[in-house]
Structures are given as C-alpha cells and as structure tokens.
Amino acid sequence: MSVRSEAGRVAAVAWKDLTAERRSKANFNAVLFLAALMLLMFGFALGPDTATLRTAAAGIVWLTVLFSGTLAFHRSYQVELERGALETLLLYPGGRSSIFLGKLLANLAFVLLVEAVLIPLATVLYDVPVGRVTWMLAVVVFLGTFGFVTLGTFYASMASRSRAREVLLPLLLFPMLVPVLVAAVEATAALLGGDLMAESGRWVRLLVAFDVIFLGAAIVAFGAVIEE
C-alpha cells in the first residue's frame, strides 16, 4: 500500500473513466452544447444591453458551469452500475479513496475541458475584457471548479444509486456549494473589474480552505459511502 501504488490506482481509475468518455464522446458533446445554449439563454433573459450582461457575466458563467457540470457527475457512476462494474472495481486491492480520487480527477478534467470552451465563448458573447487578468482568473476558475467537482463526485456516488437520482443530486449539492458560488463569482467579478479593492485574495483563500476541508472529509467518508 505504498504511496506510489496508490497513485497508480488513482491514475488507472481516472484513465479508465476518461477513455470511456473519449471513445463515446456523447456525454461531453451534449454537456458542452447545453452549456453554450445556457449562455445564449441567459443572454436572451438579461440582454441585449451589453453593460448589464458584462456585470452579470461572472455569475452567469459559474451558474452555467454548476448546472451543466452536474450532468457529468451522474455518468461517472452510471457507467459503473451496468453489469456490476462497481462491485468489480471495489474488489480490487487498495484503498477505496483511490477510486474516489480517480473519479475526481476524471471529472475535474471533464469540467475543466468544458470550461476551456465555455469561458472564451462567454467573454465573446458578453464582451468581457480578460486580457490583463488571465492568469489570476485561471487560478480562481481552477479552485472554484475543484471544490465543485470534489463535492459533486462525492454526492453523486450516493445520488446516482438512490431512487430519485436526477432530482436528488442538485438538491444535495447546490446548497453545499453556496460558499463556492459566492467566492468564485465575487473573485471573478473583482478581477474583471480591475480588483481595485484587492478583494479577490480573500475569496481565493476561502476557496482554498473550502477545497482542502471537503477534499479531506470526502476522502475519509468515501469508504463508508461506497461500501455495499
């Protein structure tokens, strides 16, 4: 049970999930188009005034990520429910937490890839200038996404196997994500506005604290949640 073999297991689970996703592509494309569609719909709901859209852009993008990303988490466990794949996965030696971390990495890659298309699209659609703050923005996006994906992967492991999976996941997940949403939107908005009050630093620290606390809690609790 060395650290090295655990890391190997994590990578193997992540690779398996990503390979399945890459070969089908169905899920990725659907989520991506849904996200792009949501950006348009928000535009129709709030627009066409460019100034309004620009102020709302940070909130719109993060809500779009939350709503579309939630769809990805289901698939992460649904593929395991067919033909008893999960039982087989659990039979492999090694800690249960490596399954969680592997799925976490795969979901993280998935959501970050969606964002890589979504965010440039949003800057074009809502006419947001990001030139000066690209790197700081990338840090905020990563930290916010990491917290979102950590809790999403954890809660989906329960919701996907319950009777009401489509409704249950957002019901459990979204109230837990309020700090992530507030911090990520505020930090993004502060950066886009030139960060005159240097506010983004405090929000970034909050995101880091959230990520660390719930990553630790999820690793500890996952064994109890996944066991049959």
Binding site: M158, R163, L168, L171, M176, V178, L206, A209, I213, V225
Partner: protein, 242 residues
C-alpha cells in the same frame, strides 16, 4: 404466522409515561414562558409589541442549531459504531431541526416586514439559515429516497456531517458578501426587561425540542420494526403489507 405479527404489534407498547408527562410539562412551559414574556416586558420603543416575536423566533433558532449539532454528533457516532439507534436519533433530530429552522425563517420574515420594510433581505444570518434549512431538507429527501436501511444510515450520516461542516463556511462567506442584520440577540445584548423572558422561552423551547425528538425517535423505532416485520413476511411469502 399472524400470531407472531400480533405479538410484535403488541410489543409496540403505549408511549412511556415519562414521555407523556414531559410533553405536558414542555407544553405548559412554553405557554407559561409566553405569558411571562407578555406580562413582564414593556413594549419596545421602536418595535412596540412586535418585539414579542423574539420570544419565539430566537428560541427556535437556538434550538434548531442545537438539533443540528445532535445530527452531527449522532452521525459521527453512527459511522464510528454503526449502531442503528444513532442513525434513528440523527434522523429524528434532523426532522425537528428542519421544522424549527422553518419556524425561525417564517417568524423572522413576519417580523422583518414591519421592522425592515421587507419580507426578505440578502443578509448573512438570513441567507445562511435558509441554506442550512435546504441542506437538511436534502438530508431528509435522501433518506426517503433510499430503501436499504444500512445504506440510508451511512449515506445520511455523511450528508449530515458534511452539512454541519459547511455551516460555518456558508456563514462566513455570506457575511463577507453582505451584512445588515442587527446584532444577534443574546441575553447580554438585551435590556434586562426582556432578558428573563427570553431565557425562560429558550428553556421552554429546549424542553419542546427534547420531547419532539423523543417522539420522533420513538416513531422511527416503530417504523423500523414495521419494516423488519414486512421484510420477514415477504421472505415467508405472505402478501402482508405493513
């Protein structure tokens, strides 16, 4: 077969005497504390008699937090020891806590309309209480959508612990975000005229919380027993539905 079930049913005895007595005491305490509040405290300078809502709103809020602490603690015990009683206690406390939180929000809103001029404001304490309420509604929804009792216990314990961990983070994040709520009412910040009545109501609500949880816990035990009887009947092939 039916004899055995009758025996089990006979095993669901009447409510224990102490619980009935405690419930009567709690009810009397709430009524007494309310009367005491109305009698002793003068109308507030700014709010008039609206201030009396405090005697329900604040005790409900205190005890809701206490209930969620019980959920957290019982969930940890369940994951540690896997005793069914801890799971049922957590579920009972979550239900009562959700009711008290709902009451807190509702009464706060009724008080806020004439005092602040709005039913709702995006203030830190308000929004984090609402988030807490939804987290525990989610907890209860998860329980009702999971059939296997062992799974239900493990999953809801995780959700209960995560929810409780998140409470301070949610509170801090919305406080930075915006704040306008008046300084929290504790007996120390109050003029002495209101202090005794608030403390008394806090205690009365604590009694109410305990008997509510005790009744819910009793009901949960009975439901659990009914599940076991139904399971046994199903295994023996009888068409009994309990």
């Amino acid at each position: 077969m039916s004899e055995r079930i009758d025996q089990r049913r006979a095993g669901v005895e009447r409510a224990p005497a102490w619980l009935v007595v405690a419930s009567a005491v709690a009810l009397a305490a709430v009524i007494g504390a309310q009367i005491f509040g109305f009698r002793t405290s003068p109308p507030d300078m700014a709010m008039g008699d609206l201030q009396k809502i405090m005697y329900v709103h604040v005790p409900a809020a205190w005890n809701a937090f206490l209930a969620f602490f019980v959920v957290f603690w019982a969930s940890v015990v369940y994951l540690w020891r896997r005793t069914e009683r801890a799971d049922l206690l957590a579920a009972s406390a979550a239900e009562v806590g959700a009711v008290f939180t709902g009451l807190t929000l509702l009464l706060g809103s009724i008080w806020g309309r004439p005092t602040w001029g709005v039913w709702w404001t995006w203030d830190a304490r308000l929004t984090s209480t609402a988030v807490l309420f939804i987290i525990f509604v989610g907890y209860l929804a998860l329980r009702s959508f999971t059939d296997d009792p062992d799974r239900r216990g493990r999953w809801s314990a995780a959700v209960g612990i995560f929810g409780a961990l998140n409470v301070p983070i949610v509170y801090m994040s919305v406080r930075w975000w915006r704040t306008l709520h008046q300084v929290q009412s504790t007996p120390e910040t109050l003029s002495p005229a209101y202090r005794a009545a608030l403390r008394l109501n806090g205690l009365a609500f604590l009694l109410l919380l305990i008997v509510f949880i005790a009744w819910r816990y009793r009901a949960a035990r009975i439901e659990r027993r009914a599940e076991l009887v139904a399971e046994e009947a199903a295994l023996q092939g009888s068409g009994l539905h309990v």
